[in-house]
Amino acid sequence: MIVALFAAVAILAPLLMLRPRALWRCLGAEVVAVLVFGALAAFARMLRVTVDPYLACVAAGAVVLTIVMAFVAFAEDVRWSANRAAILALLVYALMVPLMLRTPPDGDEPYYLLITESLVHDGDLDLGNQFRDIARTASGRADLVPQIGDRIDGARVRSHLEPFLAMLMVPGYAIAGLAGALMTIALFGALLARSTVRLFEDEGIADATTRALFPLVAFGPPIVFYAARIWPEVPAAFFFVEAVRGVRQRRMGRWVFAAVALVLLKLRFALIAVLLGVAAGFSRQKGRLKPAPTLIIAFIALVLGASRIRELVPESAVAYPIGLFGLALDGAAGIAFQAPIYLFGLIALARWRAMPEGFRLGMSCAALYVLALVPRSEWHGGWSPPLRYIVILMPFLALGCAALYERIAGAPLAIAAASTVALVIHGAAYPYRLFHIANGENAVGEVLSRAYHADFSRLFPSFIRPNFAAVVAGVVLIVTLIVFRGGRLLRPAVVAVTIVLAGLFAMRPGGRIDFEDAHVVHEGGVLFPEEYQVARFVFSGGWIVRAGDAMTFLAKRGPAKLRYVSDGGATIRIGGRAFVLPATTPNTYNVVPVEVDREGRVELRGLAGTVNLDWMRHD
């Protein structure tokens, strides 16, 4: 079915978007690509090259669709309009839905679906009977239990999630169940694509630029994933763009409606709605101020979102830069590694005064929201596909990117585009890998670490578990924001050399060993906390070692510090030396000096007692 869907989109998309001359060329190129993939599949079989067939199929389909998108982006004979762009987006999102359904919905998704089911079947928001009869839920998640924060009153359960998204999905669900619910979100994705194109037009972005960026934005992460899964972010992004367009066009009906819908989707978005209201109400309209709608919106937003206001109070000064730089640079959850095209949007932020009015309005309206988000421990989105909390900003970052587009050199654009295609293929083929346990590593680092038993994860900046690479990346980002003139120095050849050098560097022992990491070879013991622990990121990760359990890892010779927690104390052996770890009070980590007697692969073995080992850092 996946192949049939890919074929359908590969044929329909050019018919929709291209005029005859370009259409025939595009179809010809697609035929060539399909024949090449067919021949390569035969060669691969003969050469006994083992590739996951599902991955190969998705990759081939994605490459064929990339050809179509390249024609849409660069050909001269294109039928381009916002409506056609929306239909194209709907086609692709409709293809993504079954790809995302390879594994059951995860995170908050099945809960939103549960609310929808409650609305459809019972006409209420009480999930008590849904949980009692959980085997019947369309998500197939029979393991669901009420979430932390849900209101439980006897047999009645009221979800802490806002019900508006579920209400929006009711018609779709009533027609086609889970697929219908997902298609509702896909429809909002298409509407978002249309609004984004309209926004670009409103802000004076050339059609050629819009076409060039459209595929990367609409069909790149994170939007393409959130448009085919049940999260409120894509509908919210649509309402946000519409609200900003409404404010810019001084159409009160549009922006008020959109802002209210935004707040109803998630109360936290009230922080955006308030600033939108301020911007709209206190801008001059026909020569006089109109604060009334602003005050109404502000009042509603403040009442509904009172609890969120507290989040603006700083918890810790260092939390702000961690969250902020993390959103930009984190290997598992940052723009640079999960949606690199938007890095240009960040650069656009640093050229504020030269940016279109819509960009400035959108980003400034989101300022309070971002300010509230970054100090939170789950700035990275928690158990969700990457960049969850900033999906809503993506159309505006894309607008900034579009405003810079003519100044950006081909090489950085090509790198970002290639990365985008690779990320989409990875996410489409392995949708479960979009969720990460936020342990400070990322998918690429883990794969390489497992393959080489060396700490490749330390090459990727992590702000979830801050590392040295994060400091370096942060400095590089700041310098880039200041000196960026088009990125001509960022040649792919330079990137290739960097990858090779980084690979060589990663083979050497690192300065710190986190014992739960993928590069450590475990023989016994268990991960702490367990893999699917709710809000796992607030715990110090570690590996619990009992007598007889062992692990090996690359280490440097010499003195080091070991961080652990052990209720009754434990004895361990590192290399040829034994160390007694004194008992600690529960949940209080202790750091003790140890000595590593050799360079290279070292064994750590539990001799007595039980100890939760967090990390070992070389002095």
Binding site: F43, M46, L47, T50, F74, V495
Partner: protein
Amino acid sequence: VRSDLFLVVAVLAACIWVARGSRWAAAIECSLPLIAIAALAIHDERARFFAIGLIVAAAFAGAALVASDRIELLIAGVALLRWLPLRDVEVWREVVVLMGLVALFVAMGRDRLKPVATEGTWQMPTVGTGFSLSLVAVLAVAAVTPIHPGKAALLTLVLAGLVLAPPAARAAAGLACLALAPFVRWSFVPLLVAAAFVLLVPFLAKLRPLAYAAALALFAVWPWSGAAARALPAVVRFDPPVGEVRPVGWSLGRGESLALEIPRSRHVIVNASAANGLSLPPGTLLGFIEAGGCAREVRTGDVADFGFTRREHFFFARHSLPRITRADIRGLGATSWLHGAGAVGVACGGRELDLLRFRGAHETAKLQIESVELPAR
């Protein structure tokens, strides 16, 4: 291996060089980090080479879309198809081949059309009217041209001369090559097909997408260019083993025989090849496999000389690939080759077999029993 890697990087550099000035250059240059990632992330050697082959082929195709009329690109393609591994390059013969290929490319110059993606534009390449087939055709000749015997290296110069003939004569020569292909010995077939392709290039406009697809797919397997050029039909004759494979490793001359006990089964597959059988014509009897009271003849065609697709031997071989092959490809680059072992089914009217007896029958050639495949249980 390191010098081979440098050669691949040099080929990519040539691709980037010919595409410089166009914004496609950046996309082509992205092949460098992709190769670094493939080399780092893919552990299985074949999968790694396969991925690198695909990346380099894509970069080469990109460069060809921008500037297919550049000699640098031709030399890069020839280097990729013929000069890897570098340690096995026979320099003077390769120089002759290269000169012939350049002459052929120049002679075919009039077939080439103007490339569509001009400097500094984002114009989409076109399939069907874009880069000419000349480069593809010359690279096809490059892939199949033998250097053993040395005289064969001059074939490219002969082709260059033929290309200069009037169109009607050229078409007639091309069709003659195609017509001859089914009747000549196996090792001449790739040469004749490539020659026909070169001679018929002006008449193949309608088949361009197909030609591009075939060229790109074949070019992508440059890490096994030798095996691809000399044993391409193995793709359709390949059938993977399904049961347990037990290596045997016996060689039997005329009058020699050996027996092998096997677990009881109704049928087995014997992988066999010939030794010293290079000059045997198709259908020559090599020996027998006896089991359960039945005898199965083994002839060339069922099996082939084990090393007949080696670069040094292929031109002299008179028989073809085995009907069913397990595709044991050895080596890399231009010197890679396909082992001539063929899969021979042995059964005896549904009787259970527990003993296989192998008997050699040829005077000079030996029957080699490589392995026995038992049915999947």
